[in-house]
């Protein structure tokens, strides 16, 4: 899914990295836990988080995350914006809650980064769409 579509679906505002909206994200992650980004196959995924600190940007870059979206309309701290720009990581903010934001993206076809099939048989490792 193109990041520009994600932005539309989440009625999000771009705080940094407007020039990267053509980027494709292959999956979604909703987490406030940095180890979730570092332990899973999260490369090129979009991260939805309520965590609002500069370490989120650094962790996302290390994990190869494609974009970070703050939920509940949170405004990022200035040093978070500066780091995101430096690292060319798109940073957005959406008025939706974590649950609703994830649901909206899922509804439009974006999937998670599950490692194992969980009953349905349709989920494969590191799967995007």
């Amino acid at each position: 899914m193109k990041l520009s579509e994600v932005k539309e679906i989440l009625k999000a505002e771009v705080v940094a990295g407007e020039e990267h909206l053509g980027r494709t994200v292959v999956a979604g992650v909703g987490s406030d836990l940095m180890s979730d980004l570092l332990t899973g196959p999260t490369a090129d995924a979009v991260l939805l988080t309520g965590l609002n600190n500069v370490q989120v940007v650094k962790t996302a870059v290390v994990a190869g995350i494609g974009a970070v979206i703050l939920v509940r309309g949170k405004r990022p701290a200035p040093d978070m914006v500066r780091h995101a720009k430096e690292q060319q990581l798109p940073l957005l903010t959406t008025p939706f809650t974590m649950f609703s934001a994830c649901g909206r993206l899922f509804e439009k076809g974006l999937r998670g980064v599950e490692k194992k099939a969980v009953g349905t048989g349709e989920v494969k490792e590191g799967l995007g769409r």
Binding site: L33, M34, S35, L51, N53, V54, Q55, V62, G64, Q87
Partner: protein, 141 residues
């Protein structure tokens, strides 16, 4: 390619600079042109170990050694060390105070994740002895 060795200093409790050594390592490996999956594994391990030094360690450094066959990351610090290494390697075990958890860290996944991502992983530590992590990664052509 020519072999390369580089050292990065890591300051305990410096959350402004925390992670920057690993981002530099990631950038350096990207510039050399290694496989993205390999770079991600190295960067994740370097970062987990760097954050450990920042959160729990003492004065530390990360030594990066790169050759055409192998990438090594050696992180060591002169902090209080790990009393029970076996426990520290268990998923979910953590001694993190609430403020680290509020930052999204301290879930007890760091060392287990390093072990999972590195081809070779060694840990040397003891109470009062600091901690040394040796992580190496084969470069498969």
């Amino acid at each position: 390619m020519q072999s390369l060795t580089k050292t990065f200093r890591v300051q305990p409790r410096d959350f402004v600079k925390a992670g920057e050594a690993s981002l530099k390592i990631q950038r350096l490996l990207k510039d050399i042109g290694f496989d993205p999956t390999l770079i991600r594994r190295v960067a994740v391990c370097a970062y987990e170990s760097e954050m450990n030094v920042v959160m729990y360690g003492g004065e530390g450094k990360i030594l990066l050694e790169v050759s055409a066959e192998k990438i090594s990351v050696i992180t060591d610090d002169d902090g209080p060390g790990i009393e029970d290494i076996e426990k520290a390697l268990q998923e979910g075990y953590s001694t993190a105070p609430p403020e680290y958890r509020e930052m999204g860290f301290g879930a007890g996944m760091g060392l287990p994740n390093i072990k999972k991502n590195a081809d070779l992983f060694e840990i040397r530590s003891g109470k009062g002895d600091g901690t040394t992590l040796v992580m190496s990664f084969e470069v498969r052509q």
